[in-house]
């Protein structure tokens, strides 16, 4: 049984100003959601050391974190909504489907073992109809593809000997669905003379938090903290290519666990582009990029915005000669991790997403750049434009740049 009492006192600071409600993508789309203010600080106030209130509307919260960034009082709204989710699933039970979706890692391992079959099955409508009826994953929802050659099969380095050393937190998406992102990242680091190791790791826990599986999520959190601290204490930097994972390691572990270890780890964590920006600021960045006459648009995932580090992907990509990239300034994508995979949330997800699709199409470009795999999934579904991770572009630019140098 989860201990339903948890210590998180930022709710006391809430002034009821509604800034979070106005900025919540779900509240903007439907009246059926109680909104961040109510389901976050307000409920916590009513429940702290008192009776527990189970509000099923919390299922609609995607944990995108927009409420946190908009709050002038620094209330940890989405930490509170994550607890409300945990309470709801504790008391009302978690759907089998949500257990499956929350366990991205397990599904990832399982699915990529049979990758071609899974991909086919996920693509085939009759099978999907059955899935909608039995587990509630909407038939029209596009699924990320699972790769047989997932990153764990490709890469397993455990020690590094360069001056700067990186402990790579890969995340489930890059491990199972987009190993190309992970291998690109390793190459980008190599071009900068940095060796990358891949410590033992578990899913960051974000999908578990989002599905109310808080306890399991925190187990993973503790596991990851201990494994990665072994590295940071030997001078490694922790770098992450998935924005949700980065946010978890930087912020969520600290707010949920409130331990010294969590804080210590957080101070060593970087988003991959943020890390490159640090290299640049220290004059260590290899800028030998081949020119690319391309036009791209950038879509900032919510969990990137929530880190409050500006726009590092664009800062780096703009260094490529001839490369043009424009921020779409679009809001939430609506996929929101596993949210858009649920049949009862499909409409809300699509409505949010359609706004995004419109903004994306309004910006004239050849393809879209974003870091988050789940956002990519939504973009794949709603736009006919290709979607790339910044690491993939950078790796290519370095590769071509190298060849050009060699030919000279």
């Amino acid at each position: 049984m989860l201990d339903l009492f948890f210590h998180e006192d930022t709710f006391e600071k809430c002034l009821k100003c509604n800034a979070c409600v106005v900025n919540c993508p779900v509240s903007n789309e439907t009246f059926d959601f109680g909104g961040p203010k109510h389901l976050g600080p307000e409920l916590k106030r009513l429940m702290d050391n008192q009776q527990v209130i189970d509000d099923k509307r919390i299922e609609l919260c995607t944990l995108c974190g927009n409420c946190d960034i908009s709050c002038p009082e620094n209330v940890h709204v989405s930490t509170l909504t994550a607890y409300a989710k945990a309470i709801h699933s504790e008391l009302s039970g978690t759907k089998f489907r949500d257990v499956v979706l929350s366990n991205a890692e397990f599904v990832g391992k399982l699915a990529s073992a049979f990758a071609p079959i899974t991909n086919l099955a996920m693509g085939m409508r009759p099978v999907r109809k059955v899935m909608e009826a039995t587990v509630g994953i909407p038939a029209d929802r596009l699924f990320p593809k699972y790769r047989f050659n997932h990153f764990n099969r490709l890469y397993n380095k455990k020690t590094a000997s360069t001056k700067r050393k990186v402990a790579y937190y890969v995340g489930c998406y890059a491990t199972y669905n987009a190993p190309n992102v992970a291998t690109s990242f390793v190459k980008v680091m190599e071009y900068n003379g940095i060796e990358v190791v891949k410590p033992e790791q578990k899913c960051c826990g974000v999908p578990m938090f989002a599905n109310g599986q808080l306890k399991q999520g925190l187990k993973n959190a503790n596991f990851n903290i201990q494994r990665f601290l072994e590295y940071t204490r030997q001078g490694y930097d922790v770098v992450v290519t998935c924005t949700s994972c980065t946010l978890a390691l930087k912020k969520e572990y600290v707010s949920f666990l409130q331990t010294e270890d969590a804080k210590e780890l957080a101070s060593h964590v970087y988003d991959a582009d943020e890390y490159l920006r640090v290299l640049m600021e220290n004059g260590e960045l290899n800028t030998n990029f081949a020119p690319r006459e391309e036009k791209a648009r950038y879509y900032a995932p919510c969990h990137m915005k929530a880190q409050g580090i500006g726009n590092p992907a664009m800062d780096i990509l703009e260094l490529i000669p001839g490369y043009e990239i424009q921020d779409t300034g679009a809001g939430c994508c609506g996929q929101c991790g596993t949210f858009g995979f649920k049949v009862e949330k499909y409409d809300v997800s699509m409505n949010i997403g359609n706004k995004l699709a419109k903004t994306v199409n309004d910006v004239n470009a050849e393809y879209t750049v974003t870091e988050c795999g789940m956002c990519k999934n939504q973009l794949d579904q709603l736009t006919d434009q290709p979607v790339k991770h910044p690491m993939e572009i950078l790796a290519e630019a370095y590769l071509v740049g190298d060849k050009v140098l060699a030919n000279k």
Binding site: H38, N49, Q50, I53, D54
Partner: protein, 539 residues
């Protein structure tokens, strides 16, 4: 001269004492009218700690008060369950407090029969995670938490259901006297200024801290010590049960959970004027320093407001004790015929909220003797309708938090509120902190009374949460106008009153978040809604 009424007994004061007397009179079939200068509970009865004493606090120093409290505690839990939460209470000894008091206290409780059970410290800390980890001994006693707003309202409503009449916003300005006999009272309507006369066989003065003022109206010397105490409200309810400090009663040693907040107090300073509700920042800081010994994180917790009220302590002769704590808190029932040779006037004062029923019983026994009525008291047996609304609201689609509140709250209004909730819009929560819907507000507006947000607050808790009405006051006012419950002028007047009143209580605790809340409130009302400060007189 305006209207004239006749009745058997006039009760002055719509506090707990007056309400109790009115109900007892009604249950014994005696015709009565209660007169209150403002709203019910304007005085000390809603400006106290809301602790349903088990008697344990008084066990050592005032055995009689302890016995009375314990007995009444048991009776009220049975007869007014809707206004009492049986939280239980802890008596906690902290380091450096007198060790020898514990044994004295324990044996006094035992003698009186108050069950005080020692519980393991570990268990106490589990129940109350905010409690000082260094506590040395913890006992559990049958303290409770009283909702003094609903208590005074429900007791009065039950009296009315048994035929009594209630006149609120009517001040007694004079006693009508003929040859050493009080014949009735002259009252003035607080809104229109109109005066009315009520003739009666007997007048019961239950005006709390104002009893002396009433006596003065007929030139009787009457010494009353008004001992003012301050209370502070925390923005959330952090304790499950009442937490008392196990020591000789002193300042700032009780935390009472009350709905969604915790009330902390208190102090005691003698004042002259019963209308002195002033608040003092230094007094508050002194309280917090003391309170830290029980709840160490007290300075990190947000306070949303403070308030004060006066204990009317009766003394036959005046002394110089300025603390007021050593004067008996026992009740005083005075027959002015015996004391001053003035017929037709009784005064009942002193006592406690917890003992209001007993005070009423004794008063009405005396009334019966004077009127030759044979009926005996039944208030220790007869229930007041419960507030729980079991079986209601299950089908209504609304926020679970708001629903949970209604189920514990709606009481006799449940049918009306449920019907209105089903109509649609009225299930929208307009006070989010306290989860109050428009349906409840509507049910609290009197048929042909004035639209007054303070009255609504006392009946619904609207505006009692952390934002102190920053958002809900104007929502309630606009809904009232839209639904034909108030004109725009009335709504503006009510808003102005409400904001002034809330601001006063917030001012003294306004540091940190609450200071920002005050600014936000000012910005909304004075800037966005263009209200001017001090435009209306505070009623």
């Amino acid at each position: 001269m305006g209207e004239r009424f006749e009745t058997e007994v006039v009760v002055i004061g719509g506090g707990m004492t007056g309400a109790g007397v009115l109900r007892d009179l009604a249950l014994r079939g005696i015709k009565a009218i209660l007169v209150e200068q403002r709203d019910l509970g304007h005085g000390t009865s809603t400006r106290n700690h809301g602790l349903l004493h088990s008697g344990a606090r008084y066990a050592v120093r005032d055995e009689e008060a302890a016995i009375e409290s314990y007995h009444e505690n048991l009776i009220l839990k049975k007869t007014v369950p809707g206004s009492i939460e049986q939280t239980g209470g802890l008596f906690v000894k902290v380091p450096k407090d007198d060790d020898s008091y514990v044994q004295k206290w324990l044996s006094s409780c035992k003698n009186i029969g108050i069950p005080a059970v020692e519980i393991p410290i570990e268990q106490a800390l589990k129940q109350e995670p905010y409690l000082n980890k260094k506590v040395q001994t913890v006992y559990q006693v049958p303290d409770g938490s009283v909702d003094c707003f609903t208590l005074v309202l429900d007791v009065t409503a039950d009296a009315a259901a048994h035929g009594a009449k209630v006149l609120t916003y009517h001040e007694v300005v004079d006693l009508l006297i003929e040859e050493n006999r009080v014949m009735g009272v002259r009252v003035r309507d607080a809104f229109t200024g109109e005066e009315k006369e009520i003739f009666s066989k007997l007048v019961v003065n239950a005006a709390g801290p104002w009893v002396g003022k009433i006596a003065e109206q007929v030139g009787i010397p009457f010494h009353i010590i008004n001992n003012k105490g301050m209370l502070a409200v925390f923005s959330h309810r952090f304790n499950k049960q009442v937490i008392n400090r196990l020591r000789l009663p002193g300042d700032a040693d009780i935390f009472v959970p009350a709905h969604d907040v915790t009330i902390f107090g208190t102090t005691g300073i003698n004042v002259e004027d019963p209308n002195d509700f002033s608040l003092n920042r230094e007094e508050l800081e002194g309280m917090l320093e003391e309170g830290k010994k029980l709840i160490p994180s007290i300075h990190d917790m947000r306070l949303i407001r403070a308030y004060s009220g006066s204990r009317p302590l009766y003394q036959e002769s005046s002394t110089n004790d300025s603390s007021g704590r050593n004067v008996s808190r026992g009740m005083a029932l005075i027959d002015h015929q015996k004391r001053d040779g003035l017929d037709g006037l009784l005064t009942i004062t002193g006592g406690k909220l917890t003992t209001f029923r007993l005070m009423a019983e004794k008063t009405v026994d005396l009334v019966c003797g004077k009127l030759g009525v044979k009926q005996t008291c039944t208030t220790h047996l007869e229930m007041i309708p419960n507030r729980k609304a079991k079986g209601f609201f299950n089908e209504v689609d609304m926020a679970p938090a708001a629903k949970q509140k209604l189920i514990h709250w709606a009481g006799t209004n449940a049918t009306k509120i449920e019907a209105s909730l089903r109509e649609g819009h009225s299930s929208v929560v307009i006070c989010e902190c306290e989860q109050v819907t428009w349906a409840e507000v509507e049910a609290a507006i009197p048929e042909n009374g004035r639209f007054h947000l303070g009255d609504i607050r006392r009946r619904t808790r609207l505006g009692m949460g952390p934002c102190q009405g920053t958002f809900c006051h104007h929502r309630a006012a606009s809904c009232a106008v839209e639904n034909g419950k108030a004109t725009i002028e009335e709504a503006n007047w009510a808003l102005q009153q409400a904001i002034l009143e809330r601001k006063k209580g917030m001012g003294v605790v306004a540091t940190g978040e609450t200071a920002k809340q005050v600014q936000l409130m000012a910005a909304i009302y004075q800037v966005s809604l263009g209200m001017k400060e001090g435009e209306y007189e505070h009623v």
